[in-house]
Amino acid sequence: MNRFLLILLLIITTLGTGHAQGTLRGSNLMEYQLGNIPELTPRYQSSLFDQLDLSYRYKSFGLDARVEQYYPSFGDDISYTRVSQFKFQYRAEMIDIQVGNLYESFGRGLLLRTYEIPGSIWETRGYRVRYGFYRDLLGAAVKFNYKNAELKLIRGEVLDVTLPPTVSDDTNRRPDLVEGAEASYRLGSQKVGLIYMRHHTESQSIVGSDPAQLLSAYYDGVLFENFSLYGELAKSLNDNTDLTDFSDQAAYAGYVGLSFYFGNLGASLEYKNYHNFSLGAGINDPPTLVKEHSYRLLNRSTHIPVLTDESGYQVELYYSFEDGSILTFNTSRASNEISETIQPVFKEYFLEYQFYPIEKLSIKAFADYAEDPFRGEPHRYAGGSYIDWDHPKLTSSIEFEYQQIERDADPAHNYYIAYTLAKPSKFSASVVLELTTDPFLLVEPSDDFNAYPAFIGTYRPNTKNTITLFAGKRRGGPACNSGVCYDVLSFEGVELRLNTRF
């Protein structure tokens, strides 16, 4: 299969160089690491990861391919060179056809969502194999458009991103097969849609057994100009399903999002109710309704929804002042019913103010309070400030965050401080220090804290190349990006990354 794809890749390259009419574009991400997970031996081992994306377009059709390589200094059995993605696309006035490795979703992801976190390299402690972080669908998708109606058909196998490409051949990295259709019709700014999906899982105990069937309906529209509303309700259909059954045994997911604005004030209110709706190896990804923080410590402390039973809401308000400053308030709540007696409720309150005291100075300050009994953290407090100012030809920024986690037995304090000096679009140099007193992260139980010092330098010789150097110790843990949460491994050593576009 890979040989066939490599030949096709060669064809793309030939087409790109041979045809003046078509265009071949690409990007390459290369990362070299010398180091290891802190406290693991040997302390220094090297690895090289490379991800090449090629994209060829000629008139209405396109070919895309991705080649990934990984060569660690340890274990030949986990090194690889492979064509990991390939896609053929044809796009015309009324039809869009894609065959190969695709990214597609149904509705807001209650039934199906595939994604990629660009530039992200995934590695787990168990496998120690590095590969691109994406959950794609291998199959085909066809979209038909006619006036105000749209029909989307998808069939394919969804990648389980937790399994590296080097797992043995008898392990199926694509255990979920989905077949579905989404039909939608819009009238002005109002849209209604209906989704039907069949889901086959490898774990189904009876060979040839019927797939799970799921149905979803949604409304998406603008009301009275200032308001917009999205509502979607999805249900699992069994032999004798009663569509009005929302009992404990039923499997359903409901989401409603209302947003509105008045002058400088913007607001969004969202409600969720997910019950027995964790599909396969995680092929669906309903809206989380917990703020995805860009602040480092808060991003790490996020709540990850439990799709077997979760309900809650999120409210976010923005106010933009005439001088350009912005005030943001967010609160969210998520209730889980683990058992009759264990029913943790996550709560969070977040306030942020971004303002410009003088023209060349920008300040952002935030405060956050959360209760997270699911993680055994009854109280979490955080605060911090980011200050950016401009010098002639250079800019500086100081970032500071503090977090206090109250636990019954092991309270913890986390600190993050960074200073960056940059010449816009040319280079930047940052010194970063993280400290934690978290007992779970101390090297020795007698230690007072664990420190993560690092230097990060970035240089852009031109608009097509970026070189990034990391040297020091990086703290791992949960991270959320583009709506997807995952675990990042800690690292100590030197890392060199080269991004190229052509």
Partner: protein
């Protein structure tokens, strides 16, 4: 079989590569659906890829709004492309309104345009010609980048003359 399919589709193709980009239809935050072709300027189109969670994006937007007012809409059109995931989608419209974005903002939830234009970081500003061809790419934002962008737009307008 595959070769026959490709050959047939090639024969059917009527438009250029760049025009394929212009044909991707996306929902605008006010509910209507548009392609870049519907919104493009007669000379240039400035396309800004952003997300609500992206700090430099939020800093750059008021500057881009200011910059957009310095050109005739018909000549140099500005279009925002929001790439927030379904997780944040409910926030995009009120957020855009509170930031006073008065040019169209399209929702690229499935990252169709993002992938088509090979965008890899946020924010990314692209300047397209009237055929949809990418003339200029700028990634990231630091204070003063808007002046650089203005200079580039003016240069490209002069070249067109």
């Amino acid at each position: 079989m595959c070769l026959i399919l490709v050959t047939s589709l090639l024969t059917l193709s009527q438009h250029s590569t760049a025009q394929s980009t212009l044909r991707i239809e996306l929902k605008e935050i006010n509910g209507e659906y548009y392609t870049l072709d519907d919104l493009k300027g007669s000379e240039l189109t400035v396309v800004d890829f952003w997300a609500t969670w992206c700090k430099p994006c939020v800093k750059s937007i008021p500057k881009l709004v200011e910059l957009s007012h310095q050109y005739e809409k018909e000549e140099v059109a500005f279009v925002g492309i929001n790439v927030d995931s379904p997780r944040n989608l409910a926030k995009v419209r009120p957020f855009s309104k509170s930031l006073k974005i008065d040019y169209p903002v399209l929702l690229d939830t499935d990252q169709a345009l993002y992938n088509e234009l090979l965008v890899s970081v946020l924010p990314t500003v692209l300047i397209l010609d009237s055929e949809g061809k990418v003339l200029f790419t700028h990634e990231g934002y630091t204070h003063g980048d808007e002046e650089y962008l203005k200079k580039k737009i003016n240069e490209l307008l002069e070249e067109n003359e």
